[in-house]
Symmetry: C2
Subunit: 223 residues, 2 copies
Amino acid sequence: MKHLHVDVKQDLLRANDLLARSLRETWVRQETFVVNLLSSPGSGKTSLLEGTVESLRSSYRVLVLEGDLETDRDAERIRARGVEAVQITTGGTCHLEAHMIAQVWEQIKEKTYDFVFIENVGNLVCPASFDLGEHLRVVLLSVPEGDDKPAKYPKAFRTAQWMVLTKMDLLPHFDFDPDRAEAEARKLRPDIRVFHTSSRTGEGLDGWVRALILAREKTFSRS
Amino acid sequence: MKHLHVDVKQDLLRANDLLARSLRETWVRQETFVVNLLSSPGSGKTSLLEGTVESLRSSYRVLVLEGDLETDRDAERIRARGVEAVQITTGGTCHLEAHMIAQVWEQIKEKTYDFVFIENVGNLVCPASFDLGEHLRVVLLSVPEGDDKPAKYPKAFRTAQWMVLTKMDLLPHFDFDPDRAEAEARKLRPDIRVFHTSSRTGEGLDGWVRALILAREKTFSRS
């Protein structure tokens, strides 16, 4: 025996998707641009967000939602940059769901924001199945993880409009080919947009932040 | 609002645990020592196994079960070392379950092995909840992921008897403190045994393989 394929009946996740749609409608009315960040544990989501909110906070109202199984550490890191953060601890749940975001929104609905960043639970599998009402889904892939990860975790890369390659300063120490990672991701999503960044050196952060601002403007521009 | 805690009713996973127990009984009868490896994507599970089976194959009958969402690549890497490997692709499922292992065992029951290594789906969350009937659970944590991961993904570290710190050759390039990682893991599981390895330099591999052989002997020794 060489291979066992387990067929899993996909739950249609209808309730989640309906709630996500309603959240998205609210955010469109408020011109709140919402970004959902997905990756493995330790790919650098929080570090990327630290740099991002630092750049945006003088001109935009920014909120960060931090999803973790346990601990408040990530929200503390964002607050240390002078930006509001809500920690969502999921207990054992391996991903964020739209109802968790909706519960937060019930509490803060009187306030509006220009950007909301949702840092999902560190997990390259489960979060890919749950729409949170975001306008933009971004998957991070760090150089130490290896350039074979898009093929092995396809849903995360198929459902993300953007891919950020992180920890690019470590390229000399790894057998990681950014072109191969990009080619593998494009097999799953031909139009995926790719960024190269390093939170340590600052490489690529300006371009990433500019792209976020333009994506927000494009989303809310009246034709 | 600073914090939302989502209470999730834990499924008791009774069916899985019953099946796992039955698998374990079979393996005890056959003196098959079964190791379940858990980690994030890209922590180096397959690389560690490549070195491990290379050391064991001359003296022991070894089988590797490779769990992945998609692709046969990991099983191919093991077979290239001259060791049998079965690829289990889970479709979208974020972890292996005992029934998947049992299905494989139905096919290969006429054969017996001294060591079976199960490489779980790359995910530091979901696999921690599923007993596969293993004698030993091992969690890997790679230096690039950061030493804060035990606190953030507690169940994986609480349920593993052993922790392997991998990619230790990269320590000079990261702000990773192995003592801190170990202290965090010991808060969750005081008796956790810790190994320091590098699949690139070979550091620590001999000690790890020796410990596996001793653990197998101890498990099956008649008193």
